[in-house]
Amino acid sequence: MLFQTPEFLALLVLVLAAVNLLRTARSQHTLLLAASYVFYGWWDVRFLMLILLSTVIDYAAALGIRGIKLGWAKRVRISGLIVAGTLVFLCIDWPTLQDGAFALRGELLAPEWTGFRRAVSVCLGFAIVGPTLYGWYFRLNEQARRRAFLATSIVANLGMLAFFKYYNFFVDNLSGIGGALGVQWQPQLIDVALPVGISFYTFQTMSYSIDSFRGRVTPDRSLLRVALYVAYFPQLVAGPILRPQQFMPALADPWRLRSQNVISGFNLATVGLVKKVLIADSIAPMVDTIFNDPHGLPSMAIMLGAALFAVQIYCDFSGYTDIARGVSRMFGVEIPINFNFPYFSTSIIEFWRRWHISLSTWLRDYLYIPLGGNRGSIAATYFNLMATMVFGGLWHGAAWNFVIWGTYQGVLLCLNRALRVVIERSPALARFCGSRVGTVLRWAITAYLWLLGWLIFRATSFDDVRYCMKKFILFDGRLELASLGLGRGTPIIALLALAAFCVLHTASFFSRRWNERLDMLPLAMLLLAYALLGLLLFFGWPAAEQPFIYFQF
């Protein structure tokens, strides 16, 4: 279910009303979990099975890590839940139903989608084997048991991610390498859609197990609460990636809706909606025009494309986050900020502290630091940085341009670290960098670097990456407006949206965030502001639905 649809608005209003009426935490959690499953299942009910499996595995693993052994009765109940989930989510022909095609009652129970039998076998197999394996782990000594549970959680989650997202990519490349070495191998590729948000919720559930292992979180005995932590609908499909410490304390007591939170949350969500619909979606067609076939376009068009995409991806992703945070704030639950004016960064290190904060901190805490962080030699530090950023690039998608992008970011971070050392050793240089001119220069260089990075990120093939980078770095001197593609689509609207973003975002950075300004308005002015926003959204809402960019990750 997309945020910017009437069905989401209806779901939100219903859930808010129902949460307000329900008095106990358990009833609220049950309702919220059901709503979250409806929200996610709106795309494809079958993929709810993955969320259920991920939830159960990490629930059991976290308890097992801490030595809390579930009794057989509980284990059987959980297996029953898996079986029920398999029957409901997999054994009904949801693809046909959700496609709107008519199906006779009998046919609904005989789905024919690819991999149906295998999926059911795996789920039922897990339901049968899981309780026994869980009990067997408790025969190991404490250290082995803890590691076994942790390994199971990580392997299961990364295994799901690898299968659905990376299998075809790796197999295809291995086949290519084999072919280059003279080994003929035509592997069978799998034909399966990428479950929406899988990269986000698998990381989220892994952090639950890992933090339990590290003793940073006490695992919850309530499967319901853990399930809600995993599937909480405002942040389920595109983050922010929540740590258990950031969300689970909020489940201790029933939620009480407060007028101030509801209004403030609504304001924040509205600002996110405006970013997404009026700016990102207005820019999207021109970005597509430039990057779907960049060959032949002049440097000016490529540079403009980079700038437009930078604004598009920021407004799209931060808009989504604002809506997620705003919706959650309505319930009285604060989700941490995920973007903190990254485009005003004056270094790449700073950029990664401000951009997609939940992912960068996840990578820092669960990959970079366990690898050794900066505690070893300089070479080891650089290696750890590169490995983290390459993995981070690959997380975004199974394609070489993401690997190149991750590598590029890793190289920039390493260079930045090295440069910092040089600057610290030179007082004159340090003074200059701290001056106003130096700050502007550092900002300009950083902006150039992240713009180049976005080019790599957005390009759809190796050839396109090469062509775009060449045109971006080596200006070709072509200045004719006609070559910017002004004859296609609505380029002027894209440019107006770009200009509006620059002005509004800068005002927001140097003053207050726009949702905070709305929070400060008296009621009458707020109503007028919403009426005007309604008018603006009506005229600016694109006719063609544009999904959030990060849904593809």
């Binding site: 509205t270 207005s282 070559s483 009506f538 809402w541």
Partner: protein
């Protein structure tokens, strides 16, 4: 309280919807698809009892014909109108044609390229809503066969949309209008004719040469190969011509002029196209005009569209091929 905010936002949106219906669309139109609405009005108004030749087709016909020149070259008594629409390929012609036939022209001039024998591009949703607003489906005696046409479901639903829903689709009309106005100030190589222009609705004012032309030629060649490999659209063209002939209208099939640098790419394919059109025209008592070599490089604005010189040559060619009026017509 949140409900109050939602109500306020919807109130603003409602004001916008009313303004859109009552003032904005009547004033500024629907942008690129306004032409569909205007052609509907012109067809409703009809014409006096004359021999009327209607040019239908896509941008090749938009750029390629000047109805006033066709009239000059044609035998006495003929009038002509250019009702071509940019992007109006074979699938869209199936939607448009019945309304045109209702107005009882004497001849319909269709200009087709080899690529039109491949899978036709889908009808854009924007245009589908415009056809809905213009009530074009009222002229269809049978429901549109979506699968036979290969039309996607969104376009099909848009064609059948209620007026209110169709109007709502064009809520971005203001943004598009601003876009088109500013683009018009910046670009001097394109003309924005009136949506109701039925004599010479061409857009291109300049011809591209050099590397830009080479890129366009390559793009056209690739697109041609893709569409021809994707499927067979010949049957759809046959159905169009059958409908025209069944309505007692003369089908004039023109093999579109081909850029000299594209002529040697696939001569077999081009000959197949010419033969197909020739036979089809003969089967339905129509006329076939082979214009594939009618223009040299100087007659083209780019890889496929005639320029002013090419337009004159093509219009004269078609005009000369219109049959003389019989006594008693």
């Amino acid at each position: 309280m949140a409900l109050l905010l939602i109500v306020a936002a919807f109130a603003g949106a409602a004001v916008g919807a009313i303004a859109l219906r009552a003032w904005i669309v009547p004033t500024i139109g629907l942008g690129g698809v306004q032409r569909i609405i205007e052609l509907g009005r012109i067809l409703d108004d009809g014409w006096d009892d004359e021999h009327m030749g209607i040019v239908l087709g896509n941008s090749v016909s938009v750029e390629g014909y000047d109805a006033s020149i066709i009239e000059v070259a044609a035998p006495p008594g003929w009038r002509a109108m250019n009702m071509a629409i940019n992007g109006c390929d074979v699938m869209e012609l199936h939607v448009l044609l019945p309304r045109v036939l209702e107005a009882q022209p004497s001849a319909i001039i269709l200009t087709l390229r080899a690529v039109d024998l491949g899978l036709p591009p889908d009808l854009p949703v924007d245009k589908a809503y415009a056809y809905a607003l213009g009530n074009f489906l009222d002229a269809h005696r049978k429901p549109i066969d979506r699968r036979a046409l290969g039309m996607n479901r969104d376009s099909y639903n848009a064609l059948h949309a209620h007026h209110a829903k169709a109007m709502l689709h064009f809520r971005t009309a203001v943004a598009r209008w601003v876009n088109d106005q500013v683009r018009g100030w910046i670009r001097h190589d394109m003309r924005e004719p009136d949506s109701a222009e039925i004599i010479a609705p061409y857009n291109l004012l300049a011809s591209i040469r050099g590397q830009r032309l080479v890129r366009h030629l390559n793009t056209i060649a690739e697109m041609q190969d893709e569409r021809l490999a994707a499927g067979d659209g010949a049957r759809l063209i046959e159905r169009l011509v059958e409908q025209i002939a069944d309505a007692g209208v003369i089908p004039i099939l023109v093999a579109a002029p081909q850029h000299p640098r594209l002529r040697d790419r696939d001569p077999e394919r081009d000959e197949h196209c010419r033969t197909f059109l020739r036979v089809l025209a003969a089967q339905h008592n129509g006329e076939f005009i082979d214009a594939t070599e009618a223009l040299d490089e100087d007659g083209f604005a780019d890889a496929i569209h005639p320029n002013e010189s090419g337009r004159r040559i093509l219009s004269m060619l078609v005009g000369r091929h219109l049959p003389p009026r019989q006594r008693g017509d």
